[in-house]
């Protein structure tokens, strides 16, 4: 398939892996920030191609995984209301709140629908004027423009039966929290390519400078990831700490300006709680006061609802790169994709689910 096969070419991958082997002289830990990158690394077995010195740590960039239990409980409460059509991206449907997931609420009669875009939910709101259509606006900076567009459009059209439950998070503050931690184990970052295609690279310059860490904006295919790793390892070996762009075919330094304007119009920066990690200042978006009418949390009076995480789930450590999934005592026993304790086991992009699906028969590494 054009523009995919080229980036999955075995010879190109082996050549890049050889270049990494030639470059590396000592152990380094690289964190790939995005869940899509984690998924690709495990799906294609890229870590098998790397020299022992290069360790990969899976970062917090899975929006499904970091959505807090409290927000999922709010989603469950809203979805269970009569007259509500609750729309969500498919992979949020199986994520457990404190007691159950959206699919369970659906099986008891709630109208829960998987959609591919917030604009599909908007179209439903137009089609069903007698129903309340709610969209679960989850994601990083990548999904924020489309979610903002849906809200702005709803206001323009005067659609009164459409609202969004916002769980929108920002990458740089989470990276700041990880890099500032006294337990930091990360030597370089592979930043999330799609997030940067929206936001550009400027936000990462102060992070790289302050923490003396190489940051390579990296895409999601095997050739991309290995090239990103090569760039990061080269910086480390040469004592540099710069922001580099591996994903130049899509990411511009200034990002996508119209998308940024739309986001700024609808959203403001707020503090957010990350599932398994806790509250991080300025790490998310919330609706601006001018758009408060479209806030599902307010409309349905559920904003105060909040549940707690399973005490046995260590996804917070996994999301910060402090624990590998198979080192968790619950992995594969008390916690499986059918009976997940935490969201990293549910989402296809979650590190625990990726290891369960692709690596279960291998012995656990020692910490």
């Amino acid at each position: 398939m054009k523009f995919v096969e080229e980036y999955r070419d075995g010879a190109a991958c082996r050549a890049l892996a050889a270049a990494i082997r030639r470059k590396v002289t000592r152990p380094w830990s690289l964190m790939e920030v995005c869940g899509g990158q984690t998924h690709a690394i495990v799906r294609f077995g890229l870590d098998e191609l790397l020299p022992r010195e290069v360790g990969l740590i899976h970062g917090p960039g899975c929006p499904v995984c970091v959505t807090p239990v409290a927000l999922i409980d709010q989603a469950l409460a809203i979805a269970a209301r009569p007259g509500v059509v609750f729309c969500s991206f498919g992979d949020m449907l199986r994520v457990p709140g404190s007691t159950e997931d959206l699919l369970s609420v659906k099986s008891r009669g709630a109208d829960v629908r998987a959609v591919y875009s917030p604009l599909d939910a908007l179209a439903l709101a137009r089609e069903l004027p007698g129903r309340e259509v709610v969209f679960f606006a989850v994601g990083f900076e990548t999904t924020a423009p489309a979610n903002a567009l849906a809200v702005a459009q709803a206001r323009r059209e005067g659609l009164r039966n459409f609202s969004v439950l916002v769980s929108q998070v920002r990458v740089p503050p989470a990276l700041e929290a990880i890099l500032a931690s006294p337990r930091r184990r990360v030597d370089a970052l592979l930043a999330a390519g799609h997030v940067c295609s929206v936001m550009g690279t400027a936000e990462y310059l102060p992070l790289a400078a302050r923490h003396r860490i190489p940051i390579v904006v990296t895409a999601f295919e095997p050739v991309d990831l290995l090239q990103g790793i090569l760039l990061a390892v080269s910086q480390l070996e040469e004592g540099r700490a710069e922001v580099e762009n591996q994903y130049a075919r899509l990411v511009k330094a200034e990002g996508n300006r119209p998308a940024q304007r739309l986001m700024a119009e609808v959203f403001e920066v707020v503090d957010r709680t990350w599932r398994g990690i806790g509250s991080i200042p300025a790490s998310g978006f919330g609706l601006r006061e001018a758009y408060a009418d479209f806030d599902a949390g307010r409309r349905f009076g559920v904003a105060a609802l909040g549940g707690a995480e399973s005490p046995d789930c260590q996804s917070g450590l996994v999301l910060q790169g402090l624990l590998k999934p198979m080192q968790c005592p619950a992995f594969g026993g008390a916690c499986t994709p059918d009976h997940p304790l935490g969201a990293t086991m549910v989402s296809g992009e979650g590190a625990c689910a990726a290891y369960y699906r692709y690596r279960r028969f291998e012995p656990a590494e020692t910490p």
């Binding site: 995919v4 999955r8 369970s104």
Partner: protein, 348 residues
């Protein structure tokens, strides 16, 4: 005595209080429903599970199977519910190596269903049955209140004759067997998804919906020692391989580069975050047979237009039992696990 709730118990307790959609998804939850409720309650033997049961009667060996059809929407590029109801059951008979003899059908109709929607489905059933050379010999009709069913549900059952000397069953799969597919994978699932969810692709994907019994007949006529056959419907190739690996107590290795997937299907899967190896086919078969017979099997399949894309994609190894691994195009390796239910499209 131990009171450990995780200690092995039989039957295994079901983890949900109510039926979830995933219980019908061909994955792990469905396995739980079978092993936790149906098989113990009905006194059935889990080891005997196959696409068709084989019964001995009066010196003949009869294959017997049944299937319910509930696809939404009822028509999709390349087929409709009526055709599926015939091919699905004919193919299940074929998976036991049987020649189809006769089918039964039962309709559950929803009050208010326009005849203009029902008639084309019935006409499709007739055309499909004629194409398979099989007759519909008995049937039943029920009508339920409006809102109690999704228009029309069709159930068919089939009876087939297993030729002498043919024994096609998961327990015959052994290390050293090769794994073949009769054509490219994932067309049906993507074709249905594209109309169900109003997705438009530049290149439309047409379902592979069709019979495979003639392919099986050709393999048998070539004198091949077919150990096992399975049609990769719900849950796709990956689920079939997991079922067989578990049932036969073997491991399976698949070469990703050899698995035929059409470019349009691959593209749709990339966009939606789906893995084509888990997407349903309705006109393909997976065959297990001795490695040495691969060239003759491929030649027999490729003699038919619908077998033109046949390929040897992997092999059976000693174990660990139930492990299905994929050798990627990069030469690395990963598991092909059984999913819990149907795949969910990813956020980004």
């Amino acid at each position: 005595m131990t009171a450990d709730p995780l200690a092995l118990a039989c039957p295994r307790p079901l983890r949900h209080d109510t039926v979830q959609l995933a219980h019908g998804g061909g994955g792990r939850l469905m396995k739980e429903l079978l092993e936790g409720l149906f098989l113990p309650a009905l006194g059935a033997d889990p080891a005997a599970l196959h696409d068709s049961a084989v019964l001995e009667a009066g010196g003949a060996r009869l294959a017997f199977t049944t299937d319910g059809f509930v696809v939404h929407p009822r028509a999709f590029p390349g087929g409709d519910l009526g055709e599926l109801a015939i091919y699905g059951t004919v193919n299940d008979l074929a998976m036991a190596g049987a020649e189809p003899l006769a089918l039964s059908t039962a309709f559950i109709l929803e009050e208010g269903l326009p005849f203009a929607e029902l008639a084309p489905l019935v006409a499709s059933m007739k055309t499909a049955a004629d194409r398979c050379g099989v007759r519909l010999v008995t049937g039943d009709t029920k009508v339920v209140d409006r809102g109690k069913a999704d228009g029309v549900f069709i159930t068919t059952a089939g009876l087939g004759l297993v030729p002498a000397g043919v024994a096609v069953h998961p327990r015959r799969v052994r290390p050293g067997d090769a794994v073949l597919v009769s054509g490219d994978l994932g067309r049906h699932g993507i074709a249905v998804l594209s109309v169900r969810d109003g997705l438009r692709f530049e290149t439309p994907v047409v379902s592979d919906c069709g019979p495979v019994h003639h392919l099986v007949a050709a393999l048998l006529a070539a004198g091949l020692d077919l150990h096992c056959l399975r049609d990769p419907t719900r849950g796709g190739l990956a689920s079939v391989l997991n079922e067989i690996a578990l049932a036969a107590g073997v491991a399976v290795e698949v070469e990703e580069a050899r698995v035929p997937v059409d470019g349009a299907v691959l593209g749709a899967c990339e966009i939606l975050g789906l893995d084509p190896l888990y997407v349903a086919c309705e006109g393909r078969l997976v065959a297990f047979l001795p490695e040495a017979e691969v060239p003759r099997a491929l030649a027999a399949l490729r003699a038919f237009p619908e077998g033109a894309g046949a390929a040897a994609i992997g092999r059976v190894t000693e174990g660990p039992a139930g492990r299905v691994a994929l050798r990627t195009t990069l030469g690395t390796s990963r598991l092909l696990d059984l999913l819990s239910g149907e795949q969910l499209p990813r956020i980004c």
